[in-house]
Amino acid sequence: MNNETPRLATASQTVGPFFSFGLTTNTTLGRMAGPDTPGERIRLEIRVIDGAGAPVPDAVVELWHADPGGTFLFGRLGTDPAGACAFATVHPGQAAPDARDAAHVNLCLFMRGLLRHLYTRLYFAGDPSLETDAVLAAVPSDRRATLIARRAEAEPSTWRFDIHLQGDRETVYFDL
């Protein structure tokens, strides 16, 4: 241990393939909204897809967002063999009625093959505030669609969000 260097964050290392018995056994972390949570109940169906178009069956997906009252909600699930996981939560709403920023969910992504986690963000299609959102404005316009969840046709309370690690539809990741 070198005590002369300034304090610097400990290096990240991959979550590896064998995390599930340690990190994702608690599937109640997929039910983010309690009976007293305000807001419109939604289901977020997330899929993680690798550079060959194959589902990633061993990713950890964390959701960090606020409910419409500003209370912080946290969810964490592992993906299944289809690369998917689904969270029951509430539509985050906007921080303030006049907010220019669009409703969103922050995501943190871990998996074998990633030496560091990835940060990304999910927005909701059709939200007029997408035009004025400061974070989206920092994203090249031709890549913004990678951050926008779509409503499932037959189930209006379900939103689908595909995370692509590589390729033409590679999701935008943030350096925070």
Binding site: M1, N2, T5, P6, R7, L8, A9, T10, A11, S12, Q13, T14, V15, G16, P17, F18, F19, S20, F21, G22, L23, T25, L29, D50, G51, A54, V56, D58, E62, W64, H65, A66, F72, F74, H104, N106, C108, F110, M111, R112, G113, L114, L115, R116, H117, L118, Y119, R121, V135, A138, R143, L165, Q166, E170, T171, V172, Y173, F174, D175, L176
Partner: protein
């Protein structure tokens, strides 16, 4: 010290693309990350699970009817941020292979025995000085298929939240003097020597309980609130 702490140190974090670690080939993003200054979202840390933590959660040798096989050890340390402030009351989760180098996981097909008395997962909360302490079994090395005759040095996985979305950290703790370090692409992905050495725990006789278990110290530093993004440190 805090004036220096925002300085990025190249190689103190692993890059997203590190070809010797082959699992990343189809999983590492290939386009530049979008740099954001200012608040992404100033969330505090999640507080889930605090009440549900029981005493055996921090003692991996007491989670079953009998005692696990292997070398009992104490793993303890202090969690601080880059401004040297203790990170209080934060969740620390760990998971690991057993003494034979086998994980209790369906996908682990290493032909080494499972131990019916060892799960290999624990969690605890740091105290008001940022300290945590686990009792566990020293994990074994195990083979993997990254390259011919590839073996992982013995390690324990750690997950921490800290105080915000930005301080999130998943890492691995290693043991001093492991001869496999030179051949391990995960360890070597951290190119700065001092950052790499900070992943290695230290034998600590002050943590050791005589006639019972050796103690290993593993201190962890989490990103501060306004510090340099990781990409500048890779």
């Amino acid at each position: 010290m805090s004036a220096q702490s925002n300085r990025p140190v190249e190689g103190s974090q692993p890059p997203l693309i590190y070809p010797p670690y082959r699992s990343g080939a189809l999983r590492s993003p290939t386009r530049p990350l979008i740099a954001l200054t200012g608040n992404f979202s100033d969330f505090g840390a999640p507080v889930y699970g605090y009440r549900a933590i029981g005493e055996a959660d921090a003692d991996l040798t007491r989670q079953h009817a009998g005692e696990p096989l292997g070398e009992r050890i104490i793993v303890s340390g202090r969690v601080v941020d880059e401004d040297d402030r203790p990170v209080r009351q934060t969740l620390v989760e760990l998971w690991q292979a057993n003494a034979a180098g086998r994980y209790r996981h369906a996908v682990d097909d290493h032909p080494a025995p499972l131990d019916p008395n060892f799960t290999g997962a624990g969690r605890t909360i740091t105290d008001d000085d940022g300290r945590y302490r686990f009792v566990t079994i020293k994990p074994g090395a195990y083979p993997w298929r990254n390259h011919p005759n590839a073996w992982r040095p013995a390690h324990i996985h750690f997950s921490l939240f800290g105080e915000s979305f930005l301080s999130r950290l998943v890492t691995q703790m290693y043991f001093p003097g492991d001869p496999l370090f030179a051949f391990d692409p995960m360890f070597q992905s951290v190119r700065d020597e001092s950052a790499r050495q900070r992943l290695v725990s230290q034998l600590d006789l002050a943590l050791t309980e005589p006639e019972w278990a050796l103690g290993y110290r593993f201190d962890i530093v989490l990103r501060g609130r306004n510090s340099t993004p990781f990409e500048a440190r890779a």
